[in-house]
Symmetry: C2
Subunit: 333 residues, 2 copies
């Protein structure tokens, strides 16, 4: 690799190495005329200042940090992967790369982001998987690390630097779809982990049915995010007279589906979340999350902060949509 | 962010700014005694040289480039995503980050990698999705960009800087598994795109059955990688008297499964590739690719090149394994 260096450039340009270095790293120390002359000569020479030199000079890495989301069961995990794909594509169109790293905890994530930013390896970052009591936004703001988040702050200060999917609206739509098909006792199969996303989805189901708390509890079952929990939850709901269910995920919906098949209850309809390959294959209806739109929003937000750190933001709720599928032949009976 | 700068450090240390800068960027220009003194003082001060300064000094970015694989159907696409997850985790343990970027073509990928390397944004790169006539290895070698590849060179020079899954051995194992269960006319459902991975898998099936070319053709069907093609292929194979099939992917196996269900041919067994969530859910047997092992191998290879650019390598074939699943209750009938 015979790339020009500061030294070879200086020789070529007939100026001191220090002058070239100063033009790149401390341009305010060089007289404007000299600076213009050297920059022009540098450009003519075909020399491309390294990203490292450019980062030192401009304090811009042209890169955004993103924690690799934990690899989950491969069903709902596709949502965060889908978001990441969309973000990488969008960022590239704006000249930014995505720097991926793992972290076992939120604290480790914040530490790594601060270090990456301090060392000019990234300019800003994108958060995902927000939760109650999430201290990451405050910590990053205090350290001056620009950020935007896929996921709203579920409590505390609303920093406005977020875009999220309106799961409540999605669950309302799922419920109304089932009502429109004539179902009258529509249950909810959710997560027992108290997750804000799960609670939000359940709230949409409650709203659509106009249930009081006791009525809602009577038609709710909760467990972990597994096929087995979905099957058990459906069995429980059928025992309580449910004739349909909104599920917090396609994993649960798949489990619920296995139970309706086992009991030969083809009349029981389900709607899950995430429009995964599995639900498409089995012909299960689902709520699709527009991750491309979320990626575009959060990217706009971090780039706006880089342009003007004082920019104020308002969070953006993006509406998901119901996707219905035909039941495939092989499950027709 | 009140981080120390070269200037504030120089003031603090009572040396010229230029000396500090030289120690970081051109250490060979500074007398060893001075260099040691300044470095020690820098360390004591708690100053952490920025990644950019460090990259300029050491020519190391501590980052590896990886093209974001095209988002495919979400079934087989999980393999490359799984590899990426494993790579990010492993690289982190060695102090490296992954820089993700998209590319529409191999040429664009190579251009971006060369630019990223030239600008010290990455030290090396990982390739995926190798194909016949793949010019990326030669181009990167010529530009001095260290690389290793998930996927062998299917023709041309064997650069040895690769690890790959032995799909042929996997298909042999799948076929022998079906033979062991008593099947005698085992077909192959593959891809019509002439892909090297697909041909390799078919070769394993041919080997296990000891077929001559005509016999192999008689039991082979090929199409695109879709559920529909799998169903059509299975219908065709059943017409030719097949009683089982090895499928080049779980997508095809799923399609084939829908056809056996439709015809009530529960006696026909299938083995697919990739052990996807769908095959696990439907209880379909599959060949699992050990992407974690591949990630570890290619990471070792690029780090060895960074330590010694003259290192010679031999490609590593990693053996996949058959994973069998119980047929779930809901498909029992």
């Amino acid at each position: 690799m015979n790339q020009p260096t500061l030294a070879s450039l200086a020789t070529e340009l007939g100026v001191s190495r220090q002058t070239v270095s100063n033009v790149l790293n401390f341009p305010d120390r060089v007289r404007p005329a000299t600076r213009a002359h050297v920059l022009e000569a540098i450009e003519r020479s075909g020399y491309r200042p390294s990203a490292a030199a450019r980062a030192l000079r401009s304090q811009r890495a042209m890169a955004l940090g993103l924690r690799l989301s934990q690899r989950r069961n491969g069903i709902s995990g596709t949502i965060v992967d889908g978001f990441m794909h969309a973000l990488v594509q969008r960022a590239d169109q704006r000249g930014y790369r995505i720097v991926l790293f793992p972290a076992a905890t939120n604290d480790e994530e914040v530490d790594k982001l601060i270090e990456l930013r301090r060392s000019l390896a990234i300019d800003a970052c994108i958060l995902t998987d927000t939760w109650y009591g999430d201290t990451r936004p405050a910590e990053l703001a205090e350290e001056g690390v620009p950020f935007a988040s896929f996921g709203r702050p579920w409590d505390g200060v609303d920093h406005g630097r977020w875009a999220d999917v309106d799961g409540r609206a999605g669950a309302r739509e799922a419920t109304n779809h089932l009502r429109g098909l004539g179902h009258r006792r529509i249950g909810f199969i959710g997560w027992a982990d108290g997750s804000p996303v799960g609670s939000d989805r359940r709230a949409g189901w409650v709203e659509a049915l106009g249930l009081d708390p006791a009525g809602a509890d009577a038609l709710t079952v909760e467990g972990d995010d597994s096929v087995l929990a979905g099957a058990q939850g459906m069995a429980e709901l059928l025992g309580r007279g449910a004739d349909a269910a909104v599920c917090a995920s396609d994993t649960l919906s798949l489990g619920a589906f296995t139970e309706t098949r086992r009991r030969d209850r083809g009349d029981v309809r389900l709607v899950g979340f995430d429009d995964t390959p599995i639900s498409r294959t089995l012909g299960l209806d689902s709520i699709r999350q527009p991750v491309e739109e979320v990626a575009a929003e959060v990217l706009d937000m971090v780039l706006a902060q880089l342009a003007d750190p004082e920019t104020r933001f308002e969070g953006r709720l993006v509406r998901p949509s119901l996707v219905t599928h035909e039941r495939p032949d092989f499950l027709a009976t």
